[in-house]
Symmetry: C2
Subunit: 83 residues, 2 copies
DNA sequence: TATTAATATACTCCTTAGCGTATAAATGTC
DNA sequence: GACATTTATACGCTAAGGAGTATATTAATA
């Protein structure tokens, strides 16, 4: 139930899966939080330039929350991969 | 150790506390991930327009990871507060 | 309190998100 | 295959992030 996201692409995937699990369309979601269908499409596609406010709007619509925590041992060794 | 962020401002606070806990300056952090000191300053201040890529860069520098999960009962009742 | 380090602002430039609107391209359904 | 629904793209436009650079403010500390 709790998924780690290390890149915008991963966030997009999580959002998409959740939206589909809730059986909602991008348009329906967009209406709830006043975002265009195109905007949601790009977020799900993993656009790195997506704004934090947009992400939070979407998380709200999907009843998801964001948690920040120290990287776990198992994952922290791939830090360099991001650069 | 694991903190919930529901707004850009809360993310900023979490980032700032973590950075200070690691005894780093905004400049030092910025060098690690090629971000200007000013950019980090704005993120910590809670700029809603901050880009996802910027957030991930910062989380990487601070050895933090982002988790997405369904809202907990205790917190889900304030969803409307975001709108 | 004088000085130094750290953070917040400012200015110009370039790029891009997100808006409205519209349509192409997939995907589903009969 | 035909039609409907959903998602991906496109165009013009406005607003704003982040770059470089520089400086004003605000802590820290001698």
């Amino acid at each position: 139930m709790t998924q780690i996201a290390r890149t915008p692409k991963q966030i997009g995937e999580i959002v998409r899966r959740r939206r589909q699990a809730l059986k909602q369309t991008q348009i329906q979601m967009g209406k709830q939080v006043r975002l265009r269908q195109a905007t949601i499409s790009k977020l799900e596609a993993g656009e790195p330039g997506t704004r934090l406010s947009t992400l939070f709007d979407v998380l709200t619509a999907l009843d998801l929350e964001l948690v920040i925590r120290p990287r776990t041992k198992s994952s922290s060794r791939d830090i360099e991969e991001n650069f």
